[in-house]
Subunit: 398 residues, 2 copies
């Protein structure tokens, strides 16, 4: 059916993209616009849960949802493909197996791992960034235990280095520490032979949390067997492990890098002005100079009232998705768009089974209460995107 | 307690060693002899079941039993250590962490993989020979699926080469073929991309089975997706796969070698005369010229009435264990030893879920009946070594 109703294309079905799609589906009237959601996989995954399947403390299936369960395919076209190039001046997106034209474009592609130019990281370190990458981490870890028992017990197989003590790094080492006893039992390995190192260039872990919560978190993790190396940069990652700025070498067959997120390389390639690959969007989430292009999620640079950029989180991505959908509908209807304003609902970091830290408003929580809050946040997300049925189906891991 | 009661040392707690130990425990009177069982691990494993955990169709835990559940540690000393050297003329065995003297020695160490001098096999192929080695195979296979999804879909990750179409090779490819659909589902891989090659230098598979059973087995496996290359020798194994004598190369990140068993290298190193590492024992299972040394299991060469050597199987190893224990007790009591005579109780090969072939006496079975016979054989073994409790504990996989 040919029509001149506006075409909306959404690139990426992460937090930002899926929220945009769901809100558009709800707010648009019949035949008011064509909406196409492009995603590399036919599933959406819960990025904030990836540290668990990566360590093997939960399954991949509890971490993803078929997109077809989240959107109404009678209202939104789902294209499973990989974006190759964005051409803003032609209003086109090049996919690996086709081309899409748009009137409105939502770039919610997700970011990429930021390696800060540290040599070897891109080649020898794994990252917690997708279902495929965490399956690799999990299998790689198990494989090291199996290899250890078939070789002359080389220590590097049982040394695990996690680069970065931010949110992802801390949540992953906590799960890994929780998994080690089971792995040691399964492979008949003496647990005292296993070492988990968390290396961080900044002098403290978990930026954004109050010092007493950070201290609590580190105490929990040290008790679980994690060795911290804070204020020490990784100078190079090699096939044998990592070289630290102090000159120390940690031999390790497993290096997981969680050091940061930068914008997707396709953003810069498309000609947008970027800082670390991210675009400073306007107050309505438009790419500068392109009122028909919205950039949201990991690729958007939004500043807080003090002029510092918000870190890329699931929370801000979801709020941007809602705002973006609202503004596209407004544009189609020639109504006023809404300014994006981030509402901080709090931050929770999991520290493994039954442990966590949290800030909600001016309240701080730690231990069991924080762990419960984490579950609440996860369940709330499942409820937002999939209602009660999804909470019941995936919520069992909580 | 110093004593001059005879010291019996048993090296290896496989089928032959565990049966010897159990029979000695039963037949010896109190303080009639000191029995020490040396084993590298504190568990006994069911070698005929290893193809299942190797493919991942059953767990390692269903394939092993703690030795402490099989012997009475008040009657038999269990030493967990690795044998380094046998010194027949000093009546000593050197362990990795000590030395044992003996009056009677039972060498039931188990064999080693026979690579027939094919270059690269020892370095790049895995073998189904122990709990540790099958854990490695399982994890290696899963890791290939995980890698496949994180690289640019290299075909060699999904090509699996099994060298040898004897008993172990056939039973393993059957399980692997059964496992592939689940792996493809777990890793989102198109099953049509996976190839299983079974390469065998002999013109036929499964030597010892009647041609119609072999044909049946091959039909079953072809339907499960196995590609046979019979009458084709592997010329070389490389990090990239295998080179065949035909000049063909199969690129494969996974090569499992099941081509044969030879005697343990320590036998030859001890000064015994060997053929392919195995010792032609006398009719009482003595090493030639050493009436106090018994060699049983994979390292013993015993000939059938037609003058051909029996292949090393669990069945013959168990019967040798019983005969060996009897003859040691007889020697201690200055009674007549018994000649070893193999009683063939039949042969069953599993072909994966619900499929198999079997010969019992002059009767042949295939399909479901043979699969049931396989279960019966496995259960009978559990019953022999551990009685009803072990059948109930481990028999659940049957």
């Amino acid at each position: 059916m040919m029509s001149n109703i506006p075409k909306i294309v959404i690139l990426g079905a992460g937090y930002a993209g899926i929220l945009t799609a769901q809100r558009l589906q709800k707010e648009l009237n019949y035949n008011e616009a064509d909406v196409t959601l492009v995603n590399r996989h036919d599933y959406h995954y819960i990025t904030t849960h990836l540290h668990m399947p990566a360590a093997g403390t939960d399954s991949v299936e509890n971490t993803r949802v078929p997109i077809s369960k989240l959107i109404d395919e009678f209202k939104i076209d789902l294209v499973k493909s990989s974006v190759q190039e964005i051409r803003p001046h032609e209003k086109k997106v090049i996919l690996e197996d086709g081309t899409l034209s748009y009137d409105y474009l939502v770039i919610s592609l997700g970011g990429e791992s930021e390696t800060f130019g540290i040599p070897g990281l891109a080649d020898y370190a794994m990252t917690i960034r997708s279902i495929n990458s965490v399956r690799l981490i999990r299998k790689h870890i198990e494989y090291q235990f199996a290899l250890y028992k078939n070789e002359r017990h080389p220590q590097e197989r049982l040394n695990f280095v996690v680069g970065g003590a931010g949110f992802s790094g801390i949540e992953f080492v906590a799960e890994l520490a929780d998994r080690i006893p089971a792995l040691c039992k399964e492979y008949d390995v003496d647990p005292s032979k296993v070492n988990i190192y968390n290396v961080e260039a900044s002098p403290t872990a978990l930026p954004g949390f109050a010092p007493e919560l950070v201290e609590y978190a580190m105490d929990v993790l040290k008790r679980k067997g994690v060795t911290f190396k804070l204020g020490v940069a990784i100078q190079e990652c090699t096939p044998d492990g990592v070289l630290l700025a102090t000159g120390e070498e940690i031999k390790a067959a497993t290096v997981v890098w969680t050091g940061g997120i930068r914008g997707n390389h396709m953003i810069e390639a498309a000609g947008f002005e970027t800082a670390r690959g991210r675009v400073k969007v306007d107050e309505y989430l438009h790419a500068p100079g392109h009122d028909n292009i919205y950039i949201i999620g990991d690729n958007a640079l939004v500043f807080n009232p003090e002029g510092r950029p918000y870190p890329p989180t699931a929370q801000i991505a979801m709020q941007q998705g809602v705002c973006c959908a609202h503004n596209i509908v407004a544009a189609i209807r020639n109504q006023q768009p809404r300014k994006f304003a981030f509402q901080n609902k709090g931050t929770v970091a999991s520290l493994g089974k039954g442990e966590g830290i949290a800030i909600v408003g001016d309240k701080q929580y730690k231990g069991w209460k924080a762990a419960q809050l984490k579950k609440l946040v996860d369940m709330r997300y499942l409820f937002i995107i999939g209602g009660i049925p999804l909470v019941l189906r995936k919520g069992k891991f909580l």
